[in-house]
Structure formats: C-alpha cells, structure tokens
Symmetry: C2
Subunit: 210 residues, 2 copies
C-alpha cells in the first residue's frame, strides 16, 4: 500500500510516519519508483505498537527505539531478551541522588534477600525502586516502607501472570512483542486497576462517613 | 530563610523555585523588604513533594497543580479528596479513541460487576483501563485479557495496603499528602517491584535453558 493508505489504516499522519522512519522506529517502505514507496502489513502492526507504547505506555521515542532494536535482534536468548526489555523500560533519573539513597539501597537488598528473588541489587529495576523509596522518605513518608511486603507479594502475583501469558506465546517474535506489550501496557492496566480498587476500598472505609 | 538557602536545602535552583511560585505550585515567600522574601519549613516540604512527583512520579506541572489544589482545599471530605486525587492522577489520552474502545468498556464494566467494586464504568480510572485494553487489543494481544483477574486480585491487595497506610495517618493534611505520595510514588514502586519479580520468574522459567 502507499503511505496515504498506511496513514488511514493506522490513524498516524503521513509526516509522523516519515518521522518514525527517520528515527529508526519503522523500516522504510520498499521503493517502487524514485519518489514512491510501498508498505505492508508489518508496517501497520509496527505503527500500532509504536502508538500504543507512546500513547498508553507514555514511553519516549528514545525508549521505544531501544525496545524496537531488542525486538528486531535475532541473536539474544529469551531470558536475555526479557532482561533487556524489562531493564530498558525502567525510568532513569538524571537528577542528583536523594539524600537517603544509600539507606534505600540497603532496604532493597534486604527485600531481595528476604524474598529470595533471583535478581541483584544494582539492577536497573532495583535502582529504580531505591530512588522511589528515597523520594518517599524525603517527603516525610518513610513509614510507607510498611506496605512494601504487600506490594512485593502482589508484584509476584502479577509477574507470574505476565510470564504465564508470555509462555503461551511460544513464537519468538510474538514472545518479545508480548513482553513489551505486557510490561509497558501492563503498568498502565495495573495502575488503573489500583485506582479503581482504591476507590472501592475508600468507599467501604470512608463512604458512609460523608 | 532566604531563597538561596531554600535552594541549597532542597537542591532546586533559584530560577526553578521562582517558576514554581509563578505556576502556583509553591506559595510565595513572605515579603521582608520590597525585593526580598522569607521562606519557611513548609516551603522546604512542599518543594520536596513537587520534586518527588516530578522526578519519580513523572507527573506534569499541570497535573501537580491539580493535586496541590486538592491538598490545600480544606472543604472536601476525606472520601471526595481520595477520589479527586486518585482521579486526577490518571493519564488522559488526547488521541482519537482506539477502534476497540466500546468492546473494552464492556470488558471493564463486566470486571467491575464481577468483583463487586464500588466504582463505576466511565470513572477516570475505568476509562484509562478501557483505553489500555483497547490498545493491547489493537496490537494483536487481545488475549492479554486472560491476566486481568490476576491483576485485579493483586490491585485489591495493593489498594488495601495503601488505604491501611492512609488510615494510620489520621491528621487530614498528612492524610491527603500520604494519598498523593502513595498513589504516585506507589505506582513507581510497584512498577519496579514487578520488573524485579519478572526477572526472578523469568530466571526460574528460562534461566536454565541458556
């Protein structure tokens, strides 16, 4: 199909499609004449993936490029791939570290040991957790650490569901994409569910007192 | 204290502090002379909150303003406040709706009914969930819906821990702030824990096969 039809099929404007090609997110179309290119179903699917990661996942173009490179690389093992994708999708913080970061790192290491998780302190996700805990402590809510065990238990439940879903998608290409979708869109899904469950719990606790 | 000391105490630059005052995120200091203002501990605390919401929570300045207005409004009941804060912290999507949005809304309504949640289809969180589910479906992973029950169960567990934490912070001002901190930074904390648990589960499932 021509670029105009690709745009109609996906709801992404022609200039934006050209931008994604320049940025390396989308492969160029096949040239059918010096100034005309042809696009296929793979382009439709890839554009939908980019749009979901941008709109719902809130990823930056740079983060999406990193993920797409991993999706397209046939060399990595499944487990490495999962690590790349999960690690690449953790936010990175540029600002100077919070005052309590060392203490928070110790809390994270203790949590990993207590739960017997096969991950290591200093991994991108562990570091993201330490930064978040240090930030919570800095705003005077250090006691929020009390909820950490409940959160970790719930995270295990969600991760198990995630990986079981992934295991059902055996084809490698589908597998990588399902990890990306599950990790990024899963965050958005869980965050929405958490707010709905909070509203429910809050109504049960405080609703009658209005 | 003067603005220079406020900057040193919080690690936020003087121009940025002035920007927050102009944007209504931070109350102005008390004028002690025509061109000098004095700041107190409340300013330190507020700046730390803003920084945590920006850096770790990833909120926009506009979203933070909305939250701060709710925190400062003494009129709302606790339950309304929880609704405002939780609802205000849901991402809003500007793009045209995904093709499957009506079907996704039905799935969300069915989930709310099945779990007996005291919330309603069409609430900001329910709508955010519908958009995320429609996006997942559009990229060809409609079967991701299989994990929804596990996610909802885990979300109930997390929301219960959240609200129990909130209930321990009985003073109203501390309560609102703890909801904000818990909701925004709690997302970041849970997201990091989920990736750590994924790494663990993935290592158990695929690590030996390398």
């Amino acid at each position: 199909m021509r670029i105009g039809e690709l745009s109609r099929r996906t709801g992404v404007s022609v200039p934006t499609i050209k931008f994604y090609v320049r940025e390396g997110l989308l492969p160029a179309g096949e040239l059918t004449s010096p100034n005309q290119a042809s696009y296929g179903e793979a382009h439709v699917q890839r554009l939908r993936l980019i749009r979901a990661l941008l709109d719902v996942g809130g990823l930056s173009v740079a983060a999406i490029r990193e993920v797409i490179v991993a999706v397209d690389d046939p060399e990595q093992s499944v487990h490495e791939l999962l690590g790349t994708v999960a690690g690449g999708l953790v936010p990175r913080y540029d600002r100077e570290p919070h005052a309590g970061i060392e203490e928070a790192r110790k809390q994270v290491a203790a949590l990993i040991a207590a739960r017997g998780w096969r991950t290591y302190p200093g991994s991108p996700a562990a570091e993201a957790l330490a930064v978040a805990l240090a930030a919570v402590d800095e705003v005077g809510h250090g006691s929020f650490i009390e909820v950490l065990d409940s959160y970790a238990e719930a995270a295990e439940r969600v991760a198990k569901a995630d990986l079981e879903y992934v295991a059902r998608n055996v084809a490698r290409e589908g597998l990588v994409e399902s990890v990306v979708v599950g990790t990024v869109l899963g965050d958005a899904i869980f965050s929405a569910l958490r707010r709905m469950a909070q509203t429910d719990t809050s109504d049960r606790m405080y609703g009658q007192a209005r």
